[in-house]
């Protein structure tokens, strides 16, 4: 049974009086506990689709439902992780995470205790009293991840969460994320343009065409779990990687003409 069900979803928006079709009748279904990644050239509408699942952008046509409920607006059942972290700079690290626990109706003392627990999961409980601006980009994204996990959402939505980090930090974050994910295998929809990241993390990789975004390919990733860093050197990994790059190359070239 599918957990997330997107049926023939289209997105049109106005730009300087011109109608632009960003997403064209895109359908996707994700099973509970699945880690699915969308890759595509920049501007293909993959983030737009993610934002529609998150309830932040209106759906022009089609429908999206999660656990049988129609998606209409944002809510804590879909935990969102942004590329720019979205931390509140006026709240401490602990305050940021504790806010997420309000939606679950805990008393204040319990919230702080639980927030600390989620910070421990990302290895940052020692920084609970710091403010976001005092942390590195990688640490800020770990705080944002702890906050999103604290929602205990039905699904995690990740919008190029490691895109702003340097290459080394990004790889370490991918390893941390897959380790954290392994524990409770929550459903994830992940968006990136980094093919390595997509292969390393996912059960399935969905390839988008250049704008307007359409489904180009839907590929299962046959790699053992839990994923270890050594996996990146294996032949199977390289094969997946090359296959996706071959599919994507034409779309990236097409996207360049659009820009």
């Amino acid at each position: 049974m599918s957990w997330l069900e997107a049926v023939e979803v289209s997105k049109r928006f106005d730009r300087e009086g011109q109608q632009i079709l960003a997403l064209d009748r895109f359908s996707l279904s994700i099973a509970e506990g699945e880690f699915v990644t969308i890759v595509g050239p920049s501007g293909c509408g993959k983030s737009t689709f993610l934002h529609m699942v998150g309830g932040f952008e209106a759906i022009t046509e089609g429908s999206i439902s999660l656990a049988g409920e129609r998606v209409r607006e944002p809510g804590p059942d879909r935990g969102m992780l942004f590329q720019d972290y979205g931390l509140f700079p006026w709240l401490s690290v602990l305050g940021n995470v504790a806010w997420a626990l309000e939606s679950r109706g805990h008393a204040k003392a319990k919230r702080l205790e639980l927030a600390n627990h989620y910070l421990e999961r990302v290895g940052l409980s020692a920084f609970r009293n710091a403010y976001p601006a005092e942390l590195s980009g990688g640490m800020q994204q770990r705080v944002a991840l702890a906050r999103t996990l604290a929602l205990e959402p039905r699904m995690l939505l990740m919008d190029e969460p490691f895109g702003a980090l340097d290459a080394q930090t990004r790889e370490l974050m991918q390893e941390e994320l897959t380790a954290i994910w392994q524990r409770d295998r929550r459903t994830v929809l992940f968006v990136t343009h980094d093919i390595d990241e997509a292969v390393y993390l996912s059960d399935r990789v969905v390839v988008f065409t250049a704008r307007p975004g359409r489904l180009k390919a839907d590929l299962p990733i046959h790699l053992p779990r839990p994923r270890e860093p050594e996996l990146r050197k294996s032949a199977a990994y390289a094969e997946h990687r090359n296959q996706i790059w071959d599919l994507l190359r034409d779309e990236v070239l097409a996207a360049r003409k659009l820009a």
């Binding site: 932040f56 804590p76 935990g79 969102m80 509140f88 700079p89 006026w90 403010y131 929602l151």
Partner: protein, 259 residues
């Protein structure tokens, strides 16, 4: 500009005021110096005597009661209304053009109007100061709240926040740096308007002291009162900056640095 050049300028910045004071002292002690050229040392002595006799504090207190009263009323209205207007479009459409229209009108020109309405007492002065403080605090608060990072609003909605919670827990704290900018301009204006008001119709206060000294040709007293005004304004500005730094330094390091 080279490092050496800027070092020269720093050296100049320390020496120039001292040299200027010495030149004024020397110039005012010459035989042919006019009566209104009072030696800086004499001004300092008069200021000291004024403080020792208690006269300075009586007038300063009378002035401060007016300026702080006007500042508190004007700032509360300006910040409050500015923030509320940012999230209520009809209210904004009403106030925004009104403020643009009235901002360039010199508030001092309205003193006769206020006196007609509220009499010669403190009420007309406090009202005029409040009006002058209202404009910069309103404009800065509105601008600050309107330019709040949309990502924070999205994140708060993702955490399940209501519209009221988004206003009080996102819009208000996120606007703080701009609110402080408005308060600082307002504070300076509150002193400007205060002394103008006291010079026209008042029996006490530092502005009145300046007028009285001028009428009785006590030029040393006149300058001493002006220096007193400057010192009080300086003190309050520094106190506001210290408060701003205390609140913003860790949360908005980029914003707290300048100003």
């Amino acid at each position: 500009m080279s490092v050496r050049a800027s070092n020269h300028l720093r050296w100049l910045g320390g020496v120039l005021p001292v040299a200027l004071l010495l030149a004024l002292q020397w110039g005012s002690m010459r035989e042919d110096a006019p009566r209104y050229a009072v030696a800086p040392l004499q001004i300092a002595i008069t200021l000291w005597e004024l403080a020792a006799s208690g006269e300075l504090w009586r007038d300063a207190l009378a002035s401060l009661r007016r300026s702080m009263g006007g500042f508190a009323i004007g700032a509360a209205l300006g910040v409050g209304l500015g923030l509320v207007c940012s999230v209520m479009r009809p209210l904004r459409n009403f106030f925004d053009p009104l403020v643009s229209l009235a901002y360039p009108v010199p508030k001092v020109a309205l003193l006769p109007v206020f006196i007609t309405w509220l009499g010669f007492g403190d009420a007309s002065k406090v009202a005029m100061i409040a009006l002058a403080v209202f404009f910069p605090t309103f404009i800065n608060s509105l601008y600050g709240a309107r330019s709040v990072n949309e990502r924070w609003v999205w994140t708060a909605r993702n955490l399940g926040a209501s519209r009221l919670q988004i206003f009080f827990r996102v819009v208000v704290p996120a606007s703080l740096p701009q609110v402080f900018n408005g308060l600082r301009s307002g504070l300076a204006l509150s002193f400007v308007v205060l002394f103008a008001a006291e010079m026209v119709g008042s029996k006490n206060g530092l502005g009145n002291l300046v007028m009285k000294a001028e009428e009785s040709m006590r030029f040393d007293l006149m300058y001493a009162a002006i220096v007193g005004i400057g010192l009080i304004g300086f003190g309050f500005d520094r106190a506001l900056l210290a408060l701003r730094r205390r609140i913003l330094a860790r949360r908005f390091p980029g914003e707290a640095a300048h100003g």
